[in-house]
């Protein structure tokens, strides 16, 4: 069912929020900066996840959350102290809970042993003697029990997952048991005053009994006192019912489920052969009316006229909330919630339309200028205002997609914990600028590179506690993760106070790997940059932590794919700082607009190193068709973009064009030859794939100020295509 799928999505969204709350709470408990509310919030987060998980039959999640919750409850109630060891256990449990949530959502395997182990540890908090009593993770007895009696009182401490099914909601009685021969029950029922005080009602109970079968009801009014002695809140009536039903005694008793302590009642099964009654049956409807009016009187205190009650209620409401306007239920709700949830597609559509508006507005300006209208005329002034407004709308719309980096920074605290534990190092994570906002997609795609950098910082950057003490540093190392807005971009830094890059070793390794000429003279910065080289790994041995086949080159290319740049600054003995500069949004791109064979193209600025006018002496032929340009002693391949993209047959003379030195994701440098450079401009990225498909050599399209479509060059593909020339014919076909 659709609504179920939507609720499931809500559930997982809510889980993410609860998990963040849980972690934040635990961290503030850890830092000693917490009060009772924090503990309550932490408890509630786990409790909430359990509640929702139960509804979706996520048994494993429910079980772990339940154990976790039980342990947290002990802390909440003050029965155990949250010491450092316990908080660490809680943090690990919160990590595991997060994993379980994600596995429940996305599928995949859990480390069952880890879960079982934590389960044990948590259980032992509550009951130190419990030893290894934790159930196997996939214990079959946890299977969903549809028939569990949800209202069963007593010692049903165990939490029974019950799957929600919307089927048969309006169908017959869910409790219907197979109809045996009709049984006859004799029921006696006398409410206590408490029953009415809880808004229960004898009439409702009688109605419920009537619904079970054929009922004959007799009301005993003998206990009703004279009016003067009548307690308006008292209960004086009792009933005797003879019920003929196909249902069993349990079904009859269930009627009294909510009132069993607020009334006296007996249920006895009569032998069918016994036709003797000790009362005269009255018509059911009459009894119900009587019961209803009497019961209502008892509950509502009829001794006071209704008018007076109403007036008192009015006054009471006024006293309680003097400042509040008489708000309806819905508007009261509206006041309380300050956010709305919007489908991402709708936001993206809005962003598209605003992009359109920007283009339209600049076209209009261009036309007005062409028409020779004076700068200071009313039309021109109006257009200036329009331009201003359009910019503001664009900024506001982009801001909708922007989210604070906080959640991802919070996730890093887990990475730090895990790596610290694995490496036996003591690490403190300091975060700053969590409120800094970036495009949602940028944030999502930042998770992996950031995780890797944090791992690296701890594994390779920080020294062991012993080494640190030897060099006079505090035993605990620190990793600083900061975000800040700087000139229209967001700058994220990962800084450690470790040993800094061991340049000697980096250089040796680069030489050994043939990345650098043994005689080359490299600056410190150039040596540091070598760690971004593909396949480079500074660790002497592959460790558990960083040795996952991912190097800094991958980090660099992920950042570049986001239109970002990364750099490193390192100081021996004091630590290293990685600085990433990222665009605030992926909807626009800074590009260099160029002309090639009569076409206008856009080259992403992030790929461009510099532009230059090639000199005849610098261009050399290589083989039959290839040419290279020498740049500071290196020979870089020269690529004629017009020829490469099939806009012209013959290659141009490099001396007639402009050379753009580019760097691809794998850090290879090449020189692109274009006819001329028009300028730099921010462009709105448009999908070519939506209506057409992928085109080799093209990253996306955009619409320029004159309303024409221009393609954005895929620099990597153009450079790679040059190397794999023979494939080009095939590519043409697939591009079609």
């Amino acid at each position: 069912m659709d609504s179920m799928a939507a609720i499931r999505q809500t559930f997982f969204q809510e889980c993410e929020e609860q998990l963040a709350e849980l972690e934040t709470g635990l961290l503030s408990i850890e830092s000693g900066d917490s009060d009772h509310d924090t503990v309550n919030a932490v408890f509630r987060a786990v409790h909430s996840i359990k509640g929702g998980a139960g509804a979706f039959g996520l048994d494993e999640l429910v079980r772990f959350a339940h154990t976790f919750e039980t342990a947290l409850d002990l802390v909440r109630s003050g029965r155990i102290e949250a010491d450092a060891a316990l908080v660490r256990l809680m943090l690990r449990s919160s990590d595991t809970l997060a994993d379980l949530v994600r596995v429940s959502r996305d599928g995949g395997a859990m480390d069952d042993q880890r879960v079982a182990h934590l389960h044990d540890e948590l259980t032992r908090i509550a009951d130190p003697d419990a030893a290894t009593a934790a159930p196997a993770v996939s214990a079959p007895e946890a299977s969903v029990d549809q028939t569990a009696n949800a209202g069963e009182a007593g010692d049903d401490d165990g939490f029974v997952p019950l799957q929600v099914s919307f089927d048969g909601l309006l169908g017959g009685d869910a409790d219907a048991e197979p109809v045996a021969a009709d049984s006859i029950f004799r029921i006696w029922f006398r409410p206590k005053p408490e029953l009415y005080a809880k808004a229960n009602d004898a009439a409702k109970i009688l109605r419920e009994i009537c619904s079970l079968g054929e009922a004959d009801i007799a009301c005993d009014v003998s206990a009703v006192p004279v009016l003067a002695e009548l307690d308006p809140e008292g209960a004086y009536l009792s009933w005797t019912i003879r019920l003929v039903t196909g249902l069993g005694e349990d079904a009859v008793r269930e009627v009294f489920e909510f009132v069993e302590f607020d009334c006296e009642f007996t249920v006895e099964q009569e032998m069918p052969a016994d036709p003797v009654f000790d009362f005269e049956p009255e018509p059911v409807a009459a009894v119900l009316d009587q019961a209803a009016s009497l019961a209502e009187g008892e509950a509502e205190a009829p001794a006071i006229p209704q008018k007076v009650m109403d007036r008192i209620a009015e006054v009471a409401v006024k006293d309680a909330a003097p400042a509040k306007p008489a708000a309806g239920g819905q508007s009261a709700q509206a006041q309380a919630s300050q956010t709305i949830r919007v489908d991402l597609d709708r936001v993206d559509r809005l962003i598209d339309l605003v992009g359109e508006l920007v283009i339209n507005q600049s076209m209009l300006t261009q036309r007005v200028t062409e028409a020779g209208i004076a700068r200071l005329s009313e039309v021109a002034v109006g257009l200036d205002d329009l331009e201003q407004l359009t910019r503001e709308i664009q900024d506001s719309v982009m801001a909708i997609r922007a989210q604070p980096v906080r959640p991802i920074f919070q996730r890093m605290s887990r990475v730090v914990r895990e790596v610290a534990e694995m490496t036996g190092k003591s690490v403190r994570l300091v975060t700053e600028g969590e409120a800094c906002e970036v495009d949602k997609t940028v944030i999502e795609r930042l998770a992996d590179p950031l995780t890797h950098m944090i791992r690296n910082a701890i594994d390779h950057g920080l020294e062991t506690p012993e080494e640190r003490v030897e060099t006079g540093k505090p035993e605990q190392g620190s990793v600083r993760l900061t975000a800040a807005h700087r000139s229209g971009r967001v700058v994220i830094e990962v800084a450690d106070d470790g040993a800094g890059i061991n340049r000697q070793r980096v250089l040796e390794k680069a030489v050994a790997n043939g990345l650098v000429d043994p005689n080359a003279q490299l600056s410190d910065g150039e040596i540091d940059d070598l760690i971004f080289h593909p396949g480079f790994s500074t660790a002497g041995s592959v460790s558990d932590v960083s040795g996952r086949g991912v190097g800094m080159d991958v980090v660099k290319s992920s950042i570049q794919a986001l239109g970002g740049r990364i750099s490193i600054a390192s100081q021996p003995g004091a630590g290293s700082t990685f600085t990433m500069s990222l665009p605030l949004t992926l909807a626009v791109l800074d590009g260099m607009v160029v002309n090639v064979a009569g076409q206008t193209l856009v080259v992403p600025l992030t790929a461009i190193v510099e532009t230059l006018q090639p000199k005849e002496a610098d261009v050399h032929g290589l083989g039959e068709t290839s040419r290279v340009v020498s740049m500071r002693g290196a020979f870089l391949p020269l690529i004629d973009v017009g020829h490469e993209l099939g806009y012209r047959e013959a290659e141009t003379d490099p001396l007639d064009g402009v050379a753009i030195m580019v760097e691809t994701e794998n850090r290879a440098q090449s020189v692109l030859l274009v006819d001329s450079i028009v300028g730099q401009q921010q462009v709105v990225i448009k999908s070519l794939e939506a209506n057409y498909g992928h085109v080799f050599g093209v990253a996306a399209a955009t619409i320029l100020g004159d309303g024409q479509v221009a393609v954005i060059v895929d620099v990597d593909a153009v450079v790679a295509g040059r190397r794999a020339e023979p494939d080009l014919a095939n590519r043409k076909r697939t591009a079609a």
Partner: protein, 157 residues
């Protein structure tokens, strides 16, 4: 406008008829989103000859197919008088470059005859049938494979 079988409500379709290289063709009106005059396209690298390029259609990038070239006729040299029929094919929008739009027809399914064998294999694989309207023959074009799939005479739907 010509209305054939105006009173027949059985299963009538409205079709947009257009001219292309001296012949008449038509497409289901339900797949037509817009009809606009020719605007210069931005050519795409490495695209087949029947892809004229892309244009800006209210903010999205719309590929324009030279339908004549796609059907195996000689390619069109577009002028200001040419027309782009914007169609919806599945989830994609595709512009079809044609000479001129001529008519809206209302026909019933039983008026559609199978494509005669004389048409070229390439043309036949885009044709769903032919119609006889007031002595003219109009070919019904199916849009499913106009943009991407390679002509495959074996699988005509």
């Amino acid at each position: 406008m010509t209305h054939v079988n105006e009173h027949d409500t059985a299963s009538s379709n409205e079709l947009i008829a257009f001219r292309l290289g001296g012949q008449e063709f038509c497409v289901d009106i339900m797949s037509v989103r817009d009809i606009r005059g020719w605007t210069p396209t931005t050519p795409l690298p490495h695209s087949p000859d029947y892809v004229k390029g892309v244009i800006n259609l209210r903010g999205s990038v719309l590929p324009v197919i030279d339908l004549a070239a796609r059907l195996g006729f000689s390619s069109t040299e577009p002028t200001a008088r040419h027309v782009i029929i914007v169609t919806q094919v599945g989830t994609q929008s595709v512009g079809l470059l044609v000479d001129a739009v001529s008519d809206i027809l209302t026909i019933t399914d039983d008026k559609i005859q199978p494509t005669p064998d004389v048409a070229s294999a390439l043309a036949r694989c885009f044709m769903k049938g032919v119609l006889a309207v007031e002595g003219r023959m109009i070919s019904l074009i199916g849009l499913d494979s106009v943009l991407h799939t390679h002509p495959n005479p074996g699988s005509v739907n």
